[in-house]
């Protein structure tokens, strides 16, 4: 006979009960409110002139130690010389070498800025720094984290195993991989968190000449975005430049906005907010993004695991006891 029956039942059922009673730490659940001190970016496509100053400076100021594009033995920032002359940094999309990009949308003759018909618009794509980030919940090793104070979603290279579940999980297609490297990293915007200590902020906002990208606390950015939506098109408004509370203002006529702040509710809300004159789905933003909190979908499964453990162990032990009651050794 294999094992003393009482011992078997005691061990197995005991383990089951112990595990079931041990609640999974609540910290495992993602936050759902934006932290009060959280920072972010408001991008207003109607103000963007497509100069790509943000791209140039993003690449430069992130190619330093602790920057989002830094790697140990780099001599130059990771340029993408895709044109035949090979003299311009000309990325076509976000990549392992580009974490912020300005794209252009054109329809018909493309004459009128921010118009649905025969119009054009720019758009700026980078990490949205979700309030409940799917990538952070998905990462098996904690290589992606959300700062509890400023809310920045950042990457810890030393932990990453390169499973790329973050790429699958992200609803905005943000994390990019260094496919051509033998020891690759995930690359994404980290909101220039390495510059905060010296009193600086996101390079894309600092070097934006028109105030299309402004940096600030998310609570202030939300107020600013809603204020702009309430403005009368054609009236003049003093748009802040660089930061939301900046004393530098750019007076300009207000354009006609889409009546939606992208990032207010998408995927449970993000710290990057967008305004545009052209519908967001035309600009390439997924229309089917859920307003729900993505990590909740997996949490629904994970939270059941202790119950399954208890049920299988206790049920299995009981079954074993019943089916082996007549066995007297072999």
């Amino acid at each position: 006979m294999e094992l003393n029956r009482r011992d078997f039942l005691k061990t197995v059922a005991g383990t089951g009960l112990a595990l079931a009673s041990q609640a999974i730490p609540a910290a495992a659940i993602m936050p759902r409110e934006v932290p009060p001190e959280a920072v972010g970016i408001l991008y207003d496509a109607t103000l963007c002139i497509g100069c790509k100053s943000c791209m140039v400076n993003c690449k430069q100021y992130n190619s330093v130690p602790d920057g989002a594009l830094y790697s140990k033995d780099m001599k130059n920032p990771p340029f993408e010389l895709t044109t035949p002359e090979k003299i311009w940094d000309a990325p076509k999309d976000l990549s392992g070498r580009t974490v912020n990009i300005i794209k252009a949308y054109k329809t018909g003759t493309g004459e009128n800025k921010d118009a649905d018909v025969n119009g054009y618009s720019f758009l700026k794509q980078h990490c949205l720094h979700c309030i409940s980030p799917a990538c952070v919940s998905a990462c098996p090793v904690g290589a992606l984290k959300k700062d509890p104070v400023n809310g920045v979603v950042y990457y810890i290279e030393d932990r990453c195993i390169g499973c790329r579940y973050c790429q699958l999980a992200c609803p905005f297609r943000i994390p990019r991989y260094e496919w051509d490297s033998a020891s690759p990293q995930v690359r994404k915007c980290q909101l220039c968190r390495h510059r905060y200590q010296e009193g600086k902020y996101a390079a894309c906002c600092e070097f934006c000449p028109t105030g299309a990208s402004i940096f600030g606390k998310v609570v202030d950015l939300r107020k600013e975005a809603e204020k702009r939506l309430a403005l009368q098109p054609g009236r003049e408004y003093a748009f802040p430049v660089q930061t939301v509370n900046s004393k530098y203002k750019m007076p300009r006529a207000v354009s006609k906005y889409q009546k939606h702040v992208y990032g207010l509710t998408e995927a449970g809300g993000t710290q990057y907010l967008l305004l545009a004159g052209i519908p967001f789905e035309l600009l390439g933003f997924n229309k089917n993004i859920t307003d729900g909190v993505l990590p909740d979908l997996t949490w629904a499964y994970i939270s059941k695991i202790p119950t399954v453990i208890a049920a299988v162990l206790i049920g299995g032990a009981a079954t074993w006891a019943i089916t082996h009651r007549n066995d007297k050794g072999e």
């Binding site: 061990t11 499964y301 074993w320």
Partner: protein
């Protein structure tokens, strides 16, 4: 009994498999030296491809027979199935080895594969999956160890493993239940990327039930095949039992899928003629409905050849399901975003080598270990 002299190692099939294995090993070294971009067609819109779809999802599903048969024999005390418990467990062990090696090659920083073991993240399905791969591979090794101990004449170790076998098997049942379902749960976080034909909040249940379906068929398939190759008589009663089991699980699975279709994407979604809906139909008709019809006829369940055909249908059907969830179901989203994917020849050769490794490994074990203790040669 020292070895089964009936089993010849130097057959043409073995030699071909060996060549594939060597080619795969060379390719794997190339992948390690030059990175994923050089060896695969993966890209930022296709972070996962053939290796995850076939080797990991398929390999693990194929291994489900191990925990079912072990559970039936050691927990339910169904003595009839004792003759197939060793090959079923060994089969599962190779399935998991295959998945583990593929994960090693697929992750960008292979030598950090141990990180999840020390950097626990309970909010991550991927963490739960990786813990299970490690624990269950260890469990399967323990469950297989009596064959090795017998061979080496280690009586004490053999006695110890046999004494703890029932709790080990129960632990294996638990790990498998969680692991099979958690592979489905991996995809819960992509409601906007995976086609509604496959996306469902019941994905964990579907993965578990379909894995059981495939596991039973795989054990039956492998029993018939090895009886042929190793020239012994298959136990018809065991095969009939497995066929009945498969039939019951297919019914449950079909009910689950149909209910989900009606409450989700809607019936019309599978008849719109698109590539995605045709893949769904192919998977369901060839892999679920046809086996169901065939198995419900008693004449099928009594004939070796018919059972064999049904087994192949079920196995390919579930494999296709994993490919659909892992690759074809996200194709529409990825091509909308501007990227297509077809595995590179290096990805294909590595997968072929994995399968060759499992077949060869199984054959070596059958020759040198007492894999079929109650079968006379």
């Amino acid at each position: 009994m020292t070895k089964n002299n009936d089993i010849k190692m130097m057959t043409p099939t073995t030699i071909v498999l060996f060549i594939i294995l060597v080619a795969g090993a060379v390719t794997a070294v190339y992948r390690m030296l030059f990175g994923l971009g050089a060896a695969t067609n993966l890209n930022d819109l296709w972070p996962w491809g053939f290796w995850i779809g076939v080797d990991v999802l398929g390999g693990v599903a194929m291994a489900a027979g191990g925990f079912i048969i072990a559970g039936a024999v050691y927990i339910l005390n169904w003595k009839k199935y004792k003759v197939i418990v060793r090959p079923a467990i060994l089969n599962a062990f190779f399935g998991y080895l295959l998945a583990a090696v593929s994960i090693f090659l697929d992750i960008g920083r292979s030598f950090r594969i141990w990180h999840p073991m020390v950097m626990w993240q309970v909010s991550s399905i991927m963490f739960i999956v990786s813990i299970h791969v490690v624990l269950y591979t260890t469990t399967l090794a323990t469950e297989s160890s009596p064959m090795i101990f017998e061979k080496l004449g280690m009586k004490k170790a053999l006695g110890f493993v046999n004494r703890i076998m029932a709790p080990v098997v129960l632990f294996g049942v638990l790990l498998s239940t969680l692991h099979q379902s958690s592979l489905g749960a991996v995809y819960l976080i992509i409601p906007t990327k995976l086609s509604p034909l496959w996306y469902s909040n019941k994905l964990p249940y579907m993965f578990l039930v379909s894995a059981v379906m495939m596991g039973l068929s795989m054990v039956s398939f492998e029993t018939i095949l090895s009886a042929r190759v190793f020239k012994h008589k298959p136990h018809m009663e065991v095969l009939k039992g497995l066929a009945r089991g498969t039939l019951i699980v297919i019914c449950v699975y079909l009910a689950l899928k149909v209910f989900d279709l009606i409450s989700g994407a809607g019936i019309s979604a599978v008849f719109n003629g698109s590539f995605t809906s045709n893949m769904w139909l192919l998977e369901m008709v060839a892999g679920v409905i046809l086996p169901l019809v065939l198995l419900s006829m008693k004449s099928t369940r009594n004939r070796l050849n018919s059972i064999f055909v049904v087994n192949i249908l079920v196995i390919l059907g579930v494999l296709l399901n994993r490919l659909n969830v892992g690759i074809f179901g996200v194709a529409e989203y990825a091509s909308m975003a501007g990227s297509d994917y077809f595995p590179s020849w290096m990805e294909l050769i590595v997968t072929a080598a994995m399968i060759a490794f499992a077949v060869l490994g199984f054959k070596v074990c059958a020759k040198y270990l007492d894999l079929y203790p109650e079968t006379q040669h």
